[in-house]
């Protein structure tokens, strides 16, 4: 198989600092939706669980804001971040 079998996950702002992580990869075969990814990340340890318990976190797939039930596939870039505060 030549296709990318991983999903790239990126974190921003306060979330990145809380996790002390800006980017990681997960296998596309293990998750179908944003909710799946969140559950998987929360499962890492108690600290990550606490952080992902925050219902206000926003998600994007390939630069488009999405809801928790959005489907992900291999090669996608998935982002998690706090509510935005620009402007």
């Amino acid at each position: 198989m030549t296709e990318n079998i991983m999903i790239k996950i990126v974190f921003f702002a306060a979330l990145r600092e809380q996790l002390d992580c800006s980017e990681l990869q997960i296998a596309a075969s293990e998750v179908k939706t944003i909710s799946d990814i969140k559950a998987k990340l929360a499962n890492k340890n108690e600290h990550w669980q606490q952080v992902f318990n925050n219902g206000a976190l926003l998600s994007a797939i390939n630069h488009d804001m999405v809801a928790n039930d959005a489907n992900v596939k291999s090669g996608d870039e998935v982002a998690f971040f706090p509510p935005v505060t620009g402007g």
Binding site: E17, D64, G87
Partner: protein
């Protein structure tokens, strides 16, 4: 960085400051049909939630930032008769009083220019992936999003 695939649209995410007269002249260059220009400029305030602020750091999500601004601008173009649009947002470290964001809209009709500029700002506030970290008297602190900004954006759906 100037990035836009839309005609008559300038989107720029940049560290350096901008000059309002230059930006408005650009919006009106070879554009003698649009007699109205409305601009919004946001500056770093010296206070937030009761704490003295000395400056802030602006982080963004490269790629998504530009895409989200294009989406917002396209919606504005569908709702109002507007000519040219310019959105500039600075990133990095900014001090009190410095310019953060610029939205400029030209139109033949001032009502359309006012509405579109306000709409773009309202949506930028809740959809464009920028985050402010303030330097306060109590140390660095990520800014909390305001519920009022969500309500303001939702008003356009009515």
């Amino acid at each position: 960085m100037t990035y836009s695939t839309l005609p008559n649209v300038k989107i720029s995410i940049q560290a350096q400051d901008f000059n309002l007269q230059d930006e408005v002249d650009l919006l009106e260059q070879d554009n003698a049909i649009d007699g109205a220009v409305v601009t919004f400029t946001g500056r770093v305030r010296n206070k937030n939630e009761g704490l003295k602020v000395s400056g802030l750091t602006l982080e963004h999500y490269p790629g998504m930032t530009e895409k989200s601004l294009e989406k917002i601008i396209k919606q504005a173009q569908q709702r109002w008769q507007i000519g040219r649009i310019s959105v500039i947002h600075r990133i990095g470290q900014l001090m009190i009083g410095e310019q953060i964001v610029f939205v400029g809209v030209t139109s033949m009709h001032r009502q359309d220019a006012f509405a579109a500029a306000e709409f773009i700002m309202d949506y930028l506030k809740v959809q464009a992936p920028f985050w402010k970290k303030e330097v306060t008297e109590q140390g660095e602190k990520w800014l909390d999003a305001k519920q009022s900004d969500n309500q303001q954006a939702q008003q356009w759906d009515k």
